[in-house]
Symmetry: C2
Subunit: 110 residues, 2 copies
């Protein structure tokens, strides 16, 4: 299980991207639209999401077989995403969301 | 500027450590007391802190000269920590805290 990304809920996606671009030298924008963005800052991958779409979370990457096994063990249902990834959520400490994610079609941002 | 760690506010430090140890294979506990803990999970470094001591934050590492320069540019005051690190905080997107940190005496957890 490998750390994959941090996702933070923000009110304005473009504002969050602008903040990192201005304040963390070398920030690379990987994807942006009005509903979410993905960037690399200082070697970490950060997603910005809107409150009604995704919870803020930390994501750990596994291969697809492990994703199925772990989801089955926990009675969770795996959901496909627009970019080809698949994932489910665990409830972590203090109610925080932990996403377990696989990229069966390859990671679109690497 | 290099990504250094994620810090999350939790109500119970030991419970958070136990969750990661149980759910993220290979989690390595680097430090733990009743007020904070630090662990490595899937290659990421996670701190757990109590609400009245630190804000939840993302931390980026710089060298000590850059820390002084960046703090001066922003009128921020650098604070020393118990482990020899020094840092200041920026207000990131959506009011999130971003810590800029240096380890002039070396990183005690590497």
């Amino acid at each position: 299980m490998t750390f994959d990304h941090i996702a933070q809920v923000v009110p304005d996606i473009a504002e969050a991207v602008a903040w990192y671009t201005a304040n963390v030298p070398g920030t690379r924008l990987l994807y942006q639209d009005a509903t979410w963005a993905f960037l690399e800052a200082g070697g970490a991958r950060l997603a910005f999401v809107l409150r009604d779409q995704h919870p803020g979370h930390l994501a750990f990457r596994v291969d697809d077989a492990d994703l199925e096994r772990l989801a089955a063990e926990r009675g969770a249902s795996v959901k496909p995403h627009r970019d080809g990834s698949r994932s489910f959520y665990l409830e972590g400490p203090a109610g925080q969301s932990i996403e377990i994610i696989s990229y069966p079609k390859g990671d679109p941002f690497r």
